[in-house]
């Protein structure tokens, strides 16, 4: 891992644009995220939030602008891409655990197959993170046997087992019941306290208020504004942000 000077962001999006066919999903988006920073992204459905964070680990390809992770620009070079991806954890709305593997095996897959760890070491690490997300007793079960909240925490543990430098969350609680939402948010709070760099797409404004360093509002493919939560919630500049907040709060 190369050292970053404080001025150098861990993630830099610079003038990123993307089209799906003729439809422009991202319009000249720029965002700099420093190591240890926690960003919450919100905005109406279809505004391009998912697409934006999926560009960061290149699950989506952008057509214009630059996406830079830890000084490495993401491009068509796929060999470098898997190296970048192992340092970027991602948590999906629908968990996307591997259904044919147990929770423990889900967590061990990356460390063994990508990092080349011995199964014994990988198991130890997996149990450590399953403990941190508070489901060590579920290790031997298959994902289908778990509640939604437990599955999402397992998915978080699976990502953490790669010891990523940043965690991306795409609406991690949108598919969950209120009780389960709290379980997952508690885990994400712990993670934030441990100093993890996080980019979270969510409509949980309570989480944004307490955890985020900055909250970004997206509309029609652009970041309309990106402010610290106290200012974001009390004095947003843009009309669209105000309207969105009045609807959601």
């Amino acid at each position: 891992m190369e050292r970053l000077t404080p001025a150098e962001p861990l993630i830099e999006l610079d003038g990123v644009s993307k089209w799906f066919g003729a439809f422009q999903v991202l319009r000249d988006v720029s965002l700099r995220v420093a190591e240890g920073e926690r960003i919450v992204i919100c905005g109406p459905s279809g505004s391009g939030k998912s697409t934006l964070i999926r560009c960061i680990n290149r699950l989506e390809e952008h057509q214009e602008g630059r996406v830079v992770f830890a000084g490495r620009e993401l491009g068509a070079d796929t060999a470098g891409l898997t190296e970048v991806r192992r340092e970027i954890g991602m948590v999906f709305q629908e968990f996307n655990l591997f259904p044919h593997l147990t929770v423990l095996e889900n967590c061990m897959l990356g460390p063994v197959r990508v990092l080349g760890m011995s199964p014994a070491d990988a198991r130890e690490r997996a149990m450590e993170f399953l403990g941190r997300v508070r489901i060590p007793e579920q290790a031997g079960k298959h994902p289908a046997q778990l509640s939604g909240g437990q599955q999402q925490r397992a998915a978080i543990a699976r990502s953490l087992c790669m010891r990523p430098r940043v965690m991306l969350f795409d609406e991690p609680t949108s598919a969950l019941d209120p009780v389960m939402i709290k379980e997952v948010l508690d885990v994400m709070n712990d993670l934030a306290e441990s100093g993890m760099t996080m980019i979270v797409v969510t409509h949980e404004m309570g989480f944004a208020r307490t955890v985020a360093d900055r909250v970004a509002f997206m509309d029609e493919g652009s970041i309309v504004e990106c402010l610290p939560p106290d200012r974001f919630f009390t004095s947003p500049a843009d009309e669209r942000t105000k309207r969105f907040l009045s609807q959601i709060l």
Binding site: L59, E83, R85, L109, V114
Partner: protein, 284 residues
């Protein structure tokens, strides 16, 4: 309900037999059947399979032997069909479309001519069999049946495998494509390489979905092997035609043959059903 349907079927069948018996005055004579299944061999003093059972065993051999390359074709072309690059996709597509849009019989006539006149000499199968030591010959006979028929059986196997492989290709493709894209995304996001993703995430899940339809296709393969009779592969249907002619008991012979096919396929489907259930139980 089931009982009603079943008894109706039995009644209908009885009626047909009755009509055949009375109206056509067909005289049932099953006496030739046992002998065409097994005959007493004077020389060795043992019961040996006669034409029908020989054909039956050849059919079983054909089925088992062609299953392996058919599944292989299915696996390889099925995977190519889902490839990212255009060329492998096109290649596999051509194979499937060619076979699916030509009547099996026509395909087999063309292909058989090609195999037996071009490929078999190149492979040198006949020479190999002729020059084989008694020990190798014995093991060859165990797998392929009587030595004289080995080239014949191999041609049949290749034909059947090519043509069944196309259907298996489609099954494999559907199995792979049924794995949601989100699984790929989850795998990529933990940094798995394309190969590891394929090997650890896609393949194990696709296999589970593909095995039941593949088992069904295997049973179809057994039944379809009967069209090989038309290229003189000496399997059950081919030898049944001979037996029907030589014994003149057309009805009896074909009913016996239908029974043999039914037993084989029904046993297979029972076996696959059991296999599936135990696999499901092992997973739960």
């Amino acid at each position: 309900m089931d009982a009603a349907v079943l008894s109706a079927a039995v009644l209908a069948l009885g009626y047909v037999f009755h009509r055949v018996d009375t109206v056509l005055e067909y005289r049932w004579d099953w006496s030739a059947i046992p002998n065409s299944l097994y005959r007493w061999d004077e020389e060795t003093g043992r019961w040996v399979p006669n034409l029908l059972m020989q054909g039956f065993f050849t059919t079983v051999r054909l089925a088992i032997l062609s299953m392996i390359p058919a599944a292989l074709f299915g696996a390889v072309f099925g995977v190519l069909r889902t490839a990212g690059r255009l060329f492998p996709r096109l290649l596999s597509r051509t194979y499937v479309e060619l076979i699916r849009n030509i009547p099996p019989l026509v395909f087999i006539f063309i292909f058989y001519f090609f195999i037996s006149s071009q490929i078999m000499p190149v492979l040198g199968v006949e020479d190999f069999v002729r020059g084989a030591s008694p020990a190798t010959l014995r093991s060859l006979e165990l797998v392929f049946g009587p030595a004289a028929l080995i080239p014949n059986v191999i041609s049949g196997v290749i034909c059947l495998a090519m043509f069944q492989g196309a259907y298996m290709t489609e099954i494999v493709r559907a199995g792979i494509q049924s794995i949601p894209k989100t699984q790929t995304e989850a795998g990529l996001s933990i940094g798995l390489s394309r190969w590891e993703l394929w090997r650890r995430v896609i393949l194990p899940q696709a296999l589970r979905r593909v095995i039941p339809p593949l088992a069904g296709q295997f049973i179809t393969l057994v039944k379809d092997s009967s069209i090989l009779s038309l290229i003189s592969i000496q399997e059950l249907t081919f030898l049944a035609m001979e037996t029907a002619v030589s014994t003149t008991r057309v009805f009896e012979v074909w009913i016996t043959v239908a029974g043999l096919y039914f037993c084989l396929c029904y046993l297979l489907s029972l076996a696959f059903g059991r296999l599936e259930r135990s696999a499901a139980a092992a997973r739960a």
